[in-house]
């Protein structure tokens, strides 16, 4: 037997017509602005704003990733766990078209650790590689933690929960929109400024010949950006982990 539906305040999400639909008890019928699937995005301006924001931040992520891949350790800073197109963005890719050269940081870390038992590989360079992998991984984690500290719980979820029945008015649909949309907050601005600081630290440390510190800050910046966009859009957008 199919479920009757899920109730969110005065609204219910239940089967009706040809698909699942939002119903409002006060409207005594289906919600005009709340249909199945498109409930996350309400109007064209919002779609444009969100997709442009995501696209520009994805541009930044691709840019920083390519720079990181082209620099000393040839490590990806935006794709932690998955196969990347590493080899295509670095010189001599034909000679390094191997499994190790095509993996994300976690896989590379595993490969490096597995090579510790191999006596033919120099321990020093291997330890260096492992340290670089760990710098990116922990940098990404710390970036996400920073977002959690700055932004807190998802403002998008808050915006949805804040739909108090006393505020919603059927005759003022434009005013009601703000309770559903992905709202801009100064907290995201602080997060983006932190990301800019991390990227400038990457630039400084790379210039002073400290590539591990540069990788750490690159990972932190990307972790900040990825978690900011995830929190902003309720996990609709991801600007760094595109192949997941």
């Amino acid at each position: 037997m199919p479920p009757a539906g899920w109730v969110y305040g005065s609204r219910t999400f239940k089967p009706g017509g040809k698909s699942w639909t939002w119903y409002d008890t006060r409207q005594r019928g289906p919600c005009k602005k709340h249909t199945n699937g498109s409930s996350l995005v309400q109007n064209f301006r919002q779609v444009l704003r969100v997709s442009l924001t995501g696209a520009t931040l994805a541009f930044v992520a691709g840019y920083v990733n390519a720079v990181s891949l082209s620099s000393v350790y040839r490590l990806t800073v935006t794709h932690m766990t998955v196969t990347t197109i590493h080899a295509f963005f670095s010189p001599g890719w034909r000679s390094r078209f191997s499994l190790g050269g095509l993996q994300g940081v976690v896989a590379r870390l595993g490969l490096d650790i597995s090579q510790l038992a191999n006596p033919s590989v120099s321990e020093r360079s291997l330890g260096d590689d492992i340290a670089a992998d760990l710098c990116v991984l922990f940098g990404f984690l710390i970036g996400s933690v920073c977002t959690g500290i700055v932004v807190g719980p998802s403002l998008y979820a808050f915006a949805r929960l804040a739909r108090a029945p006393t505020i919603l008015n059927e005759n003022k649909t434009k005013q009601n929109y703000r309770y559903y949309r992905m709202r801009v907050s100064w907290r995201y601005g602080v997060g983006l400024i932190l990301e800019a600081l991390c990227l400038s630290m990457m630039l400084i440390f790379h210039s002073t010949d400290s590539p591990k510190a540069a990788l750490f800050f690159a990972g932190t910046g990307m972790g900040l950006q990825n978690s900011l966009t995830s929190v902003y859009s309720g996990s609709l957008l991801r600007t760094t982990h595109l192949t997941v």
């Binding site: 040809k18 698909s19 199945n36 699937g37 498109s38 995005v41 779609v47 969100v50 997709s51 442009l52 995501g54 696209a55 520009t56 931040l57 994805a58 541009f59 930044v60 992520a61 691709g62 840019y63 920083v64 990733n65 390519a66 720079v67 891949l69 082209s70 620099s71 963005f89 801009v184 907050s185 100064w186 995201y188 601005g189 602080v190 997060g191 983006l192 400024i193 932190l194 990301e195 800019a196 990227l199 400038s200 990457m202 630039l203 790379h206 210039s207 910046g221 950006q225 609709l236 957008l237 991801r238 600007t239 982990h241 595109l242 192949t243 997941v244």
Partner: protein, 97 residues
Amino acid sequence: MWTDIGVILGQGTQQLVYWIFRKNDELQHSKTDLWRLKFNVPIMTSYFVGAWAGFLGFYQFGINVLVAPVLFTGMAGCVAIYLDRQYVIFLLSFGEY
């Protein structure tokens, strides 16, 4: 993203198959998540364009190409704070606004 695009393409294919064979099924009239493509396709495209720009820029100008994303993200942060300025004023006034 790539997974989302794959799922959407699969849903579209399913609907196409239902439409071709006129299959009477409860899924026949279900909606696909095509609206997600409005976000996924620009993001994927700009990621690859950004990667290409970063790659070319690095080999042309060295590590200094990072100045561009630093400036961009810093400016975007300032814009976001500006757009939410009323709330910032409220916070700075310690709730007495």
